[in-house]
């Protein structure tokens, strides 16, 4: 047994060292930076809480945080619902083709991040594809405001990119509930929808929660989508963070905002998990 342990340790060592050096260490440095002082366009290791005071008390950042949480919550909720029904339908109703229909989703998950955002920008542009298509077919006479870039466009684009991330865990959870169990519930008097609600939902709830949490985290730290699809009134906290590392050039403040975002997400999602766990019991 002992030589095996040594071999296992040696096999794990390169990846562990790599993780520590290029994931753990950068994040620690980022946290450290959030306590740095900005002096004459330089960042010096002088301990200060000023960055956090700004991040937590400024009206501006509060607005950004609240907008971010609202947009992320809507996006994640829509994704959870759409993904649940997609997984349900391909697992039970179209069972014979479920592998193929899942495969499409899998493939669409890897690739096209920037391409998608760009496509939505073209679709929702002022003279965009959506309006031009509707106008050229005569359905509408004037460009519709809803189809212009803005919060709606941001949400649609994020749903579009993160939907596979939602389908993945829900589909996986549903594979544990066979169609036989649903038929049994129907046989015992449940309607088809009732069976879905009573049998599948509780068992897939973990998957749904994971889907919601994953997409919530991913969208809450989005920055490119609002930047390319939204106006100044639609920017999210990610944009403020990115700004401090770009033109704003206040890295410690950016770091403090980033740490704040992580803490807010951890608290909210931790609470969500606790509630779900209680509910399931």
């Amino acid at each position: 047994m002992k030589p095996n342990r040594i071999v296992a340790a040696l096999q794990l060592a390169p990846a562990s060292v790599y993780y520590s050096a290029l994931f753990g260490a950068p994040l620690l440095v980022l946290v450290a930076y959030s306590f740095y002082t900005t002096e004459n366009f330089d960042f010096v290791p002088e301990f200060t809480l000023d960055n956090y005071v700004t991040a937590w008390t400024s009206e501006v950042y509060r607005t950004y945080f609240i907008r971010t949480l609202r947009i992320s919550a809507i996006t994640a909720a829509v994704i959870a619902v759409v993904a649940f029904f997609y997984s349900y339908v391909i697992t039970y109703t179209l069972r014979a083709h479920r592998s193929l229909l899942y495969f499409f989703v899998l493939v669409s998950m890897f690739g096209g991040y920037l391409v998608r955002i760009y496509a939505w920008r073209s679709i929702f542009g002022t003279e965009g594809i959506a309006n031009s298509a509707l106008m050229s077919t005569g359905i509408i006479a004037e460009p519709l405001d809803l189809l212009r870039n803005g919060e709606f466009a941001i949400i649609i684009a994020m749903i579009n990119f993160y939907l596979p991330l939602g389908i993945l865990p829900i589909y996986a959870a549903m594979q544990n509930v066979g169609p036989g169990q649903i038929e049994a519930a129907q046989d015992l008097g449940s309607s088809r929808l009732g069976a879905a609600g009573k049998i599948v939902l509780p068992l897939a709830l973990r998957g749904v929660t994971v889907a919601f949490v994953f997409t919530f985290i991913a969208t809450a730290a989005e920055w490119l989508t609002p930047q390319l699809l939204g106006g100044t009134e639609d920017q999210m906290i990610g944009n403020r963070i990115a700004y401090q590392f770009g033109a704003g050039f206040d890295w410690p403040l950016g770091a403090a905002l980033a740490v704040t975002l992580v803490v807010v997400l951890a608290v909210l999602l931790g609470a969500l998990f606790t509630v779900v766990r209680r509910w399931v019991r």
């Binding site: 950068p26 980022l30 179209l94 890897f110």
Partner: protein, 264 residues
């Protein structure tokens, strides 16, 4: 009558729903591909006609071609390094007790759900502190972190299915530990290793955020595309986007087919 009855039994609402979701998933990509062949620079309907002029433009554009080269280097390097690190770690993990294994996998998966923006700025700060300049190498180092969890997931799932008693059979027939690994374990897990490598390549080729904060002047293809999005009316973006898309989805497609025998 009978044909009508069969017609009615088809679950139309389900098919429509699945069709709509898939259409929604792929429509924006289809639009980019479609307009990359548009003869007019206008990106709006009605469609004017097909042409390859934008492809001609990008493949003669030194900036774009150089970026393609950098993206290719990044993809291949990321793929190779993650496949090696991931396979080694997967082999180490499979021998652990199930509790330790769960803990190790939990930590290993963190980069997958950690927001890319925060990781990217963390990396930028880190490089600054270390005095390492922004470059393609700096970007690749970050992209490896991002794809390692996916590779590890694929490989450890494969190793979980691997029957280690086959190794005993090989040892019984006289093979030493390394010979048994080379002739039995490796050939059996190789499709999954290659598949996960392709997946890592797809992730790297499509990666934007880490590259944006750490690549400096070594702009990869997504960075070139980003730079041009803000310039009004540059239809070559559609062609760049299509090239990017074809490469990443082809890699992802082959990878998914190789790694999940259940699919298809």
């Amino acid at each position: 009558m009978r044909r009508l009855a069969r017609w009615r039994r088809v679950p139309w609402p389900s098919i429509l729903y699945v069709g709509a979701v898939l259409l929604f998933l792929f429509a924006p990509l289809a639009i980019v591909v479609l307009f990359s062949f548009h003869s007019s620079p206008r990106m709006a309907f009605p469609f004017q006609g097909f042409s390859l002029r934008w492809y001609e433009e990008i493949f003669t554009d030194v900036e774009v071609v150089r970026a393609m080269g950098r993206s290719a280097i990044a993809a291949v390097t990321t793929g190779l390094v993650t496949a090696i690190l991931g396979t080694l770690a997967g082999l180490g993990i499979v021998g652990l007790s199930s509790r330790t294994k769960g803990a190790v996998m939990f930590f290993a998966m963190i980069p997958m759900s950690f927001p890319a923006l925060l990781f990217a700025i963390g990396l930028a700060v880190y490089y600054r502190e270390l005095g390492v300049g922004f470059s393609l190498g700096a970007t690749i180092a970050g992209q490896i972190i991002q794809s390692l969890p996916f590779v590890l997931l694929v490989i450890s799932a494969t190793l979980d299915r691997f029957r280690f008693s086959l190794i005993e059979a090989a040892r019984d027939l006289g093979a030493g530990a390394f010979h048994a690994f080379r002739t039995i374990t490796l050939p059996i897990i190789l499709p999954a290793v290659l598949g996960s490598m392709l997946l890592a390549m797809a992730l790297s080729a499509d990666e934007f955020i880490v590259a944006f904060f750490t690549a400096g002047q070594d702009k990869t293809l997504p960075l070139i595309m980003y730079g041009r999005i803000n310039i009004k009316l540059d239809p070559s973006i559609n062609a760049i986007g299509t090239v990017l898309l074809v490469v990443t989805s082809a890699l992802a497609f082959i990878s998914a087919r190789r790694t999940s025998k259940e699919s298809l």
